[in-house]
Protein backbone atom coordinates (compact mmCIF):
# COMPACT_ATOMS: atom_id res chain seq x y z
CA UNK A 1 0.00 0.00 0.00
CA UNK A 2 1.53 3.31 -1.01
CA UNK A 3 2.16 5.83 1.71
CA UNK A 4 -0.38 8.63 1.46
CA UNK A 5 1.94 11.45 2.42
CA UNK A 6 5.34 11.93 3.97
CA UNK A 7 5.29 13.37 7.43
CA UNK A 8 6.95 16.77 7.53
CA UNK A 9 9.49 17.45 10.19
CA UNK A 10 8.21 19.76 12.91
CA UNK A 11 11.12 22.13 12.43
CA UNK A 12 10.24 22.72 8.82
CA UNK A 13 6.54 23.14 8.94
CA UNK A 14 5.59 26.59 10.09
CA UNK A 15 1.99 25.95 10.69
CA UNK A 16 0.93 22.75 12.44
CA UNK A 17 -2.49 23.15 10.90
CA UNK A 18 -1.12 23.03 7.35
CA UNK A 19 0.90 19.89 8.06
CA UNK A 20 -2.16 18.25 9.56
CA UNK A 21 -4.26 19.36 6.66
CA UNK A 22 -2.41 17.00 4.28
CA UNK A 23 -2.94 13.84 6.28
CA UNK A 24 -6.08 11.80 6.30
CA UNK A 25 -7.89 12.00 9.63
CA UNK A 26 -10.50 9.85 11.30
CA UNK A 27 -12.72 10.91 14.19
CA UNK A 28 -14.48 8.23 16.18
CA UNK A 29 -17.26 9.72 18.30
CA UNK A 30 -19.76 7.54 20.10
CA UNK A 31 -20.71 5.51 23.13
CA UNK A 32 -20.50 2.03 24.52
CA UNK A 33 -24.19 1.83 25.32
CA UNK A 34 -24.43 -1.37 27.35
CA UNK A 35 -24.59 -5.13 27.38
CA UNK A 36 -27.33 -7.70 27.36
CA UNK A 37 -27.71 -11.46 27.37
CA UNK A 38 -25.23 -12.25 30.13
CA UNK A 39 -26.04 -14.61 33.03
CA UNK A 40 -25.84 -11.89 35.67
CA UNK A 41 -26.46 -8.19 35.48
CA UNK A 42 -23.86 -6.33 37.48
CA UNK A 43 -21.44 -5.73 34.61
CA UNK A 44 -18.62 -3.46 33.55
CA UNK A 45 -16.47 -3.36 30.48
CA UNK A 46 -12.79 -2.77 29.82
CA UNK A 47 -12.30 -1.48 26.31
CA UNK A 48 -9.43 -0.47 24.10
CA UNK A 49 -8.74 0.48 20.52
CA UNK A 50 -5.95 -1.15 18.54
CA UNK A 51 -4.59 0.30 15.31
CA UNK A 52 -1.84 -0.50 12.87
CA UNK A 53 1.55 1.19 12.62
CA UNK A 54 0.50 3.90 10.18
CA UNK A 55 -2.04 5.38 12.59
CA UNK A 56 -1.29 8.04 15.16
CA UNK A 57 -3.58 9.06 17.99
CA UNK A 58 -3.82 12.85 18.17
CA UNK A 59 -6.31 13.25 21.01
CA UNK A 60 -8.60 11.15 23.14
CA UNK A 61 -8.25 8.14 25.38
CA UNK A 62 -7.75 4.88 23.53
CA UNK A 63 -8.63 2.62 26.42
CA UNK A 64 -10.71 2.72 29.53
CA UNK A 65 -13.08 1.02 31.86
CA UNK A 66 -16.76 1.72 32.22
CA UNK A 67 -18.85 2.04 35.35
CA UNK A 68 -20.51 -0.97 36.95
CA UNK A 69 -24.24 -1.00 36.31
CA UNK A 70 -26.92 -2.99 38.12
CA UNK A 71 -30.09 -2.38 36.14
CA UNK A 72 -33.31 -1.97 38.01
CA UNK A 73 -35.56 -2.47 35.00
CA UNK A 74 -34.99 -4.98 32.27
CA UNK A 75 -32.03 -7.09 31.45
CA UNK A 76 -29.63 -4.65 29.80
CA UNK A 77 -26.79 -3.10 31.79
CA UNK A 78 -26.23 0.48 30.62
CA UNK A 79 -22.83 2.15 30.64
CA UNK A 80 -23.22 5.14 28.25
CA UNK A 81 -19.45 5.36 28.13
CA UNK A 82 -18.29 8.11 25.73
CA UNK A 83 -15.62 7.44 23.13
CA UNK A 84 -14.00 10.41 21.38
CA UNK A 85 -10.84 9.74 19.38
CA UNK A 86 -8.93 11.64 16.75
CA UNK A 87 -6.56 9.63 14.57
CA UNK A 88 -4.39 10.63 11.68
CA UNK A 89 -3.18 8.01 9.25
CA UNK A 90 -0.75 7.42 6.41
CA UNK A 91 -2.26 4.18 5.21
CA UNK A 92 -5.38 2.06 5.29
CA UNK A 93 -3.85 -1.00 6.93
CA UNK A 94 -4.58 -1.51 10.58
CA UNK A 95 -7.98 0.17 10.55
CA UNK A 96 -8.97 0.71 14.22
CA UNK A 97 -10.43 -2.25 16.06
CA UNK A 98 -12.34 -1.88 19.30
CA UNK A 99 -11.81 -4.76 21.71
CA UNK A 100 -13.87 -5.35 24.83
CA UNK A 101 -13.76 -7.45 27.97
CA UNK A 102 -17.01 -7.73 29.86
CA UNK A 103 -16.62 -8.45 33.57
CA UNK A 104 -19.11 -9.16 36.30
CA UNK A 105 -18.75 -7.67 39.76
CA UNK A 106 -20.68 -9.44 42.49
CA UNK A 107 -21.98 -8.03 45.73
CA UNK A 108 -18.71 -8.86 47.49
CA UNK A 109 -16.68 -6.85 45.00
CA UNK A 110 -15.11 -9.85 43.26
CA UNK A 111 -14.68 -9.58 39.50
CA UNK A 112 -15.21 -12.44 37.09
CA UNK A 113 -14.61 -12.45 33.36
CA UNK A 114 -17.80 -12.81 31.35
CA UNK A 115 -16.69 -12.33 27.79
CA UNK A 116 -14.25 -11.08 25.21
CA UNK A 117 -15.32 -9.43 22.00
CA UNK A 118 -14.07 -7.12 19.31
CA UNK A 119 -15.44 -5.24 16.34
CA UNK A 120 -13.88 -3.05 13.68
CA UNK A 121 -14.69 0.62 13.78
CA UNK A 122 -16.95 1.21 10.74
CA UNK A 123 -15.11 2.48 7.71
CA UNK A 124 -17.90 4.57 6.21
CA UNK A 125 -18.70 7.99 7.65
CA UNK A 126 -21.91 8.43 9.56
CA UNK A 127 -23.58 7.04 12.62
CA UNK A 128 -23.62 3.27 13.14
CA UNK A 129 -25.29 1.04 15.69
CA UNK A 130 -23.19 -2.06 16.34
CA UNK A 131 -23.78 -5.29 18.21
CA UNK A 132 -20.60 -6.97 19.30
CA UNK A 133 -20.93 -10.67 20.17
CA UNK A 134 -18.77 -11.98 23.00
CA UNK A 135 -17.28 -15.32 23.94
CA UNK A 136 -15.61 -16.81 26.97
CA UNK A 137 -12.83 -19.43 27.07
CA UNK A 138 -14.11 -22.82 28.16
CA UNK A 139 -11.80 -24.88 30.33
CA UNK A 140 -11.81 -28.57 31.05
CA UNK A 141 -14.77 -30.22 32.79
CA UNK A 142 -12.96 -29.80 36.12
CA UNK A 143 -12.67 -26.05 35.47
CA UNK A 144 -16.32 -25.83 34.58
CA UNK A 145 -17.36 -27.69 37.71
CA UNK A 146 -15.23 -25.44 39.89
CA UNK A 147 -16.67 -22.43 38.11
CA UNK A 148 -20.19 -23.42 39.12
CA UNK A 149 -19.24 -23.42 42.78
CA UNK A 150 -16.57 -20.76 43.27
CA UNK A 151 -16.69 -18.70 40.08
CA UNK A 152 -13.63 -17.52 38.21
CA UNK A 153 -12.57 -19.36 35.11
CA UNK A 154 -9.84 -19.37 32.49
CA UNK A 155 -8.73 -16.05 31.00
CA UNK A 156 -6.50 -15.20 28.07
CA UNK A 157 -2.90 -14.54 29.00
CA UNK A 158 -2.57 -11.63 26.62
CA UNK A 159 -5.52 -9.61 25.32
CA UNK A 160 -4.09 -9.62 21.77
CA UNK A 161 -5.94 -12.79 21.00
CA UNK A 162 -9.23 -10.95 21.27
CA UNK A 163 -8.63 -9.10 18.01
CA UNK A 164 -6.12 -11.28 16.20
CA UNK A 165 -6.80 -14.57 14.53
CA UNK A 166 -3.28 -15.87 14.71
CA UNK A 167 -3.25 -18.42 17.51
CA UNK A 168 -6.85 -19.36 18.03
CA UNK A 169 -7.02 -22.88 16.65
CA UNK A 170 -6.51 -24.58 20.01
CA UNK A 171 -8.97 -22.42 21.89
CA UNK A 172 -12.37 -23.77 22.92
CA UNK A 173 -14.91 -21.09 23.77
CA UNK A 174 -18.55 -20.63 24.66
CA UNK A 175 -20.85 -17.85 23.46
CA UNK A 176 -21.91 -15.13 25.87
CA UNK A 177 -24.05 -12.01 25.50
CA UNK A 178 -23.80 -8.98 23.20
CA UNK A 179 -22.44 -5.49 23.74
CA UNK A 180 -24.23 -2.61 22.04
CA UNK A 181 -22.30 0.34 20.73
CA UNK A 182 -23.16 3.44 18.83
CA UNK A 183 -20.15 4.71 16.91
CA UNK A 184 -20.02 7.73 14.65
CA UNK A 185 -17.20 8.09 12.15
CA UNK A 186 -16.08 11.35 10.56
CA UNK A 187 -13.43 11.12 7.85
CA UNK A 188 -11.29 13.95 6.53
CA UNK A 189 -9.31 14.24 3.30
CA UNK A 190 -9.89 10.63 2.30
CA UNK A 191 -11.28 11.66 -1.07
CA UNK A 192 -8.09 13.62 -1.73
CA UNK A 193 -6.22 10.33 -1.88
CA UNK A 194 -8.83 8.60 -3.97
CA UNK A 195 -10.08 6.43 -1.13
CA UNK A 196 -13.73 5.50 -1.48
CA UNK A 197 -15.65 4.81 1.72
Amino acid sequence: MTVLTTERCCKRCRNAQSARSLMAEVHIIGQIIGATGFPQNSLFCKWGIHTGGAWRLLSGLKEGQTQVDMPQIGDMAYWSHPIDLHYTTKGLQGWPKLHLQVWHQDSFGRCQLYGYGYCHVPSSPGQHRLQCATWRPLGSWQDQLAQIFVGGGPQLRTPDLIYSGADRYRLHTVAMGTVELELGVILRHFDRYGVET
Partner: protein, 203 residues
Protein backbone atom coordinates in the same frame (compact mmCIF):
# COMPACT_ATOMS: atom_id res chain seq x y z
CA UNK B 1 -22.85 34.09 4.36
CA UNK B 2 -20.45 32.26 2.06
CA UNK B 3 -16.71 32.20 2.63
CA UNK B 4 -14.08 30.62 0.45
CA UNK B 5 -11.71 29.39 3.12
CA UNK B 6 -13.62 28.93 6.36
CA UNK B 7 -11.52 28.24 9.39
CA UNK B 8 -14.34 26.99 11.58
CA UNK B 9 -17.62 25.18 11.15
CA UNK B 10 -20.94 25.72 12.87
CA UNK B 11 -23.25 23.18 14.46
CA UNK B 12 -26.81 24.26 15.12
CA UNK B 13 -28.86 22.12 17.46
CA UNK B 14 -32.61 22.49 17.78
CA UNK B 15 -34.66 20.06 19.71
CA UNK B 16 -36.42 19.14 22.86
CA UNK B 17 -36.23 16.92 25.88
CA UNK B 18 -39.48 15.20 25.08
CA UNK B 19 -40.06 13.20 28.24
CA UNK B 20 -39.04 10.32 30.42
CA UNK B 21 -39.99 6.81 31.29
CA UNK B 22 -39.39 5.96 34.94
CA UNK B 23 -41.69 3.14 36.00
CA UNK B 24 -41.27 3.68 39.73
CA UNK B 25 -41.12 7.45 40.15
CA UNK B 26 -43.30 10.47 39.50
CA UNK B 27 -43.28 14.29 39.78
CA UNK B 28 -39.91 14.91 38.26
CA UNK B 29 -37.99 17.74 36.65
CA UNK B 30 -34.83 17.66 34.63
CA UNK B 31 -31.76 19.78 34.11
CA UNK B 32 -29.55 19.75 31.05
CA UNK B 33 -26.12 21.12 30.26
CA UNK B 34 -23.59 20.70 27.48
CA UNK B 35 -20.08 19.29 27.76
CA UNK B 36 -17.66 20.02 24.93
CA UNK B 37 -13.95 20.05 24.14
CA UNK B 38 -11.48 22.92 24.18
CA UNK B 39 -11.89 23.69 20.49
CA UNK B 40 -15.62 24.28 20.83
CA UNK B 41 -17.47 27.41 21.86
CA UNK B 42 -21.20 28.09 22.04
CA UNK B 43 -22.06 31.11 19.91
CA UNK B 44 -25.72 31.48 20.77
CA UNK B 45 -28.41 29.82 22.79
CA UNK B 46 -28.60 28.56 26.33
CA UNK B 47 -26.03 26.13 27.66
CA UNK B 48 -28.05 25.04 30.65
CA UNK B 49 -31.65 24.80 31.64
CA UNK B 50 -34.10 23.50 34.23
CA UNK B 51 -37.46 22.19 33.16
CA UNK B 52 -40.87 22.27 34.78
CA UNK B 53 -42.03 19.58 37.21
CA UNK B 54 -44.18 17.01 35.46
CA UNK B 55 -46.44 14.19 36.61
CA UNK B 56 -47.63 11.08 34.93
CA UNK B 57 -50.81 11.51 32.91
CA UNK B 58 -53.80 9.28 33.41
CA UNK B 59 -53.44 5.97 31.64
CA UNK B 60 -49.93 6.75 30.45
CA UNK B 61 -46.65 5.53 31.80
CA UNK B 62 -44.66 8.45 30.41
CA UNK B 63 -43.73 11.82 31.84
CA UNK B 64 -43.66 14.70 29.36
CA UNK B 65 -41.52 17.82 29.58
CA UNK B 66 -41.46 19.06 25.98
CA UNK B 67 -38.50 21.21 27.04
CA UNK B 68 -36.82 23.18 24.23
CA UNK B 69 -33.12 22.98 23.44
CA UNK B 70 -31.63 25.62 21.17
CA UNK B 71 -27.91 26.17 20.85
CA UNK B 72 -25.27 26.82 18.19
CA UNK B 73 -21.63 25.81 18.49
CA UNK B 74 -18.57 26.91 16.59
CA UNK B 75 -15.47 24.77 16.30
CA UNK B 76 -12.31 24.05 14.34
CA UNK B 77 -12.04 20.38 15.23
CA UNK B 78 -14.59 17.58 15.69
CA UNK B 79 -12.69 16.30 18.69
CA UNK B 80 -14.65 17.09 21.84
CA UNK B 81 -17.96 16.95 19.98
CA UNK B 82 -20.61 18.33 22.36
CA UNK B 83 -22.56 16.01 24.58
CA UNK B 84 -25.79 16.83 26.33
CA UNK B 85 -25.92 15.76 29.98
CA UNK B 86 -29.40 15.33 31.42
CA UNK B 87 -30.08 14.93 35.15
CA UNK B 88 -33.50 14.10 36.49
CA UNK B 89 -34.66 14.90 40.02
CA UNK B 90 -37.77 14.05 41.96
CA UNK B 91 -39.18 13.84 45.48
CA UNK B 92 -38.64 10.78 47.66
CA UNK B 93 -41.06 9.38 50.24
CA UNK B 94 -40.28 12.14 52.72
CA UNK B 95 -40.52 14.99 50.22
CA UNK B 96 -36.78 15.63 49.78
CA UNK B 97 -35.46 16.41 46.33
CA UNK B 98 -33.26 13.51 45.25
CA UNK B 99 -31.57 12.62 42.02
CA UNK B 100 -33.31 9.98 39.92
CA UNK B 101 -30.89 9.64 37.06
CA UNK B 102 -27.99 11.02 35.03
CA UNK B 103 -27.50 10.38 31.37
CA UNK B 104 -25.44 11.73 28.50
CA UNK B 105 -25.32 11.38 24.76
CA UNK B 106 -23.34 12.95 21.92
CA UNK B 107 -25.18 15.45 19.78
CA UNK B 108 -25.71 13.71 16.41
CA UNK B 109 -23.42 14.98 13.68
CA UNK B 110 -25.39 14.11 10.58
CA UNK B 111 -27.81 16.86 9.54
CA UNK B 112 -31.44 15.96 9.94
CA UNK B 113 -33.89 14.78 12.53
CA UNK B 114 -32.81 12.36 15.24
CA UNK B 115 -34.59 10.78 18.19
CA UNK B 116 -32.45 9.43 21.01
CA UNK B 117 -33.53 7.47 24.07
CA UNK B 118 -30.86 7.52 26.73
CA UNK B 119 -30.67 5.40 29.87
CA UNK B 120 -30.57 7.19 33.21
CA UNK B 121 -28.58 5.86 36.14
CA UNK B 122 -27.85 6.87 39.74
CA UNK B 123 -24.76 6.13 41.85
CA UNK B 124 -25.24 3.24 44.25
CA UNK B 125 -24.52 3.39 47.96
CA UNK B 126 -21.44 1.47 49.03
CA UNK B 127 -23.07 -0.58 51.77
CA UNK B 128 -26.55 -1.53 52.90
CA UNK B 129 -26.20 0.60 56.00
CA UNK B 130 -25.34 3.63 53.93
CA UNK B 131 -28.25 2.88 51.66
CA UNK B 132 -30.62 2.83 54.62
CA UNK B 133 -29.28 6.04 56.19
CA UNK B 134 -29.38 7.87 52.89
CA UNK B 135 -32.98 6.76 52.37
CA UNK B 136 -33.84 7.95 55.86
CA UNK B 137 -32.03 11.28 55.72
CA UNK B 138 -32.99 12.08 52.12
CA UNK B 139 -29.38 12.58 51.06
CA UNK B 140 -28.77 10.07 48.30
CA UNK B 141 -25.40 9.56 46.63
CA UNK B 142 -25.04 11.93 43.73
CA UNK B 143 -22.25 13.21 41.49
CA UNK B 144 -20.75 16.49 42.65
CA UNK B 145 -20.62 17.61 39.03
CA UNK B 146 -23.06 15.99 36.57
CA UNK B 147 -20.52 16.59 33.80
CA UNK B 148 -18.60 13.54 35.02
CA UNK B 149 -21.17 11.44 33.20
CA UNK B 150 -19.90 12.78 29.88
CA UNK B 151 -16.29 11.84 30.53
CA UNK B 152 -14.55 8.56 30.00
CA UNK B 153 -12.03 8.79 32.81
CA UNK B 154 -12.56 8.23 36.48
CA UNK B 155 -15.64 6.10 36.08
CA UNK B 156 -14.00 2.76 36.71
CA UNK B 157 -14.87 2.70 40.36
CA UNK B 158 -18.41 4.04 40.18
CA UNK B 159 -21.24 1.61 40.75
CA UNK B 160 -24.55 2.73 39.38
CA UNK B 161 -28.10 1.52 38.96
CA UNK B 162 -30.00 2.31 35.80
CA UNK B 163 -33.65 2.98 36.43
CA UNK B 164 -35.25 4.84 33.55
CA UNK B 165 -34.97 6.45 30.13
CA UNK B 166 -35.23 9.96 28.72
CA UNK B 167 -36.24 10.65 25.12
CA UNK B 168 -34.66 13.55 23.25
CA UNK B 169 -35.28 14.87 19.77
CA UNK B 170 -32.70 16.78 17.75
CA UNK B 171 -32.73 18.67 14.48
CA UNK B 172 -29.17 19.22 13.35
CA UNK B 173 -27.84 21.72 10.83
CA UNK B 174 -24.14 22.08 10.07
CA UNK B 175 -22.33 24.76 8.13
CA UNK B 176 -18.95 24.52 6.40
CA UNK B 177 -18.17 21.05 7.69
CA UNK B 178 -17.81 19.78 4.13
CA UNK B 179 -15.71 22.78 3.10
CA UNK B 180 -13.19 21.92 5.78
CA UNK B 181 -12.89 18.44 4.29
CA UNK B 182 -14.90 16.46 6.83
CA UNK B 183 -17.21 13.69 5.64
CA UNK B 184 -20.01 13.07 8.09
CA UNK B 185 -22.37 11.06 5.92
CA UNK B 186 -21.82 8.21 3.56
CA UNK B 187 -22.36 9.46 0.01
CA UNK B 188 -24.32 6.38 -1.09
CA UNK B 189 -27.11 7.18 1.36
CA UNK B 190 -27.72 10.63 -0.11
CA UNK B 191 -28.46 10.39 -3.85
CA UNK B 192 -27.92 13.67 -5.64
CA UNK B 193 -30.91 15.96 -5.64
CA UNK B 194 -32.89 14.03 -3.03
CA UNK B 195 -32.86 14.28 0.71
CA UNK B 196 -32.67 11.17 2.79
CA UNK B 197 -36.37 11.12 3.65
CA UNK B 198 -37.92 11.83 0.27
CA UNK B 199 -38.94 9.06 -2.09
CA UNK B 200 -38.85 9.58 -5.86
CA UNK B 201 -42.28 9.50 -7.48
CA UNK B 202 -43.32 6.31 -9.15
CA UNK B 203 -41.58 3.83 -6.83
Amino acid sequence: MTSNNPSAFLLMVNGQIEGANFPEYDDMYCKYCFVYGHDWAPTSGLEEGISQITSRGSGSQNLVWNFPIDITFKSTNPFGWPQIVVSVYGPDTFGNDVVRGYGAVHIPFTPGKHTKTIPMFVPESTSRLQKFTSWLMGRRPEFTDPKVVAQGEGREVTRVRSQGFVTLQFNIVTKDIKKLGYDTTSTEHAPAGLSGTQQPYGT
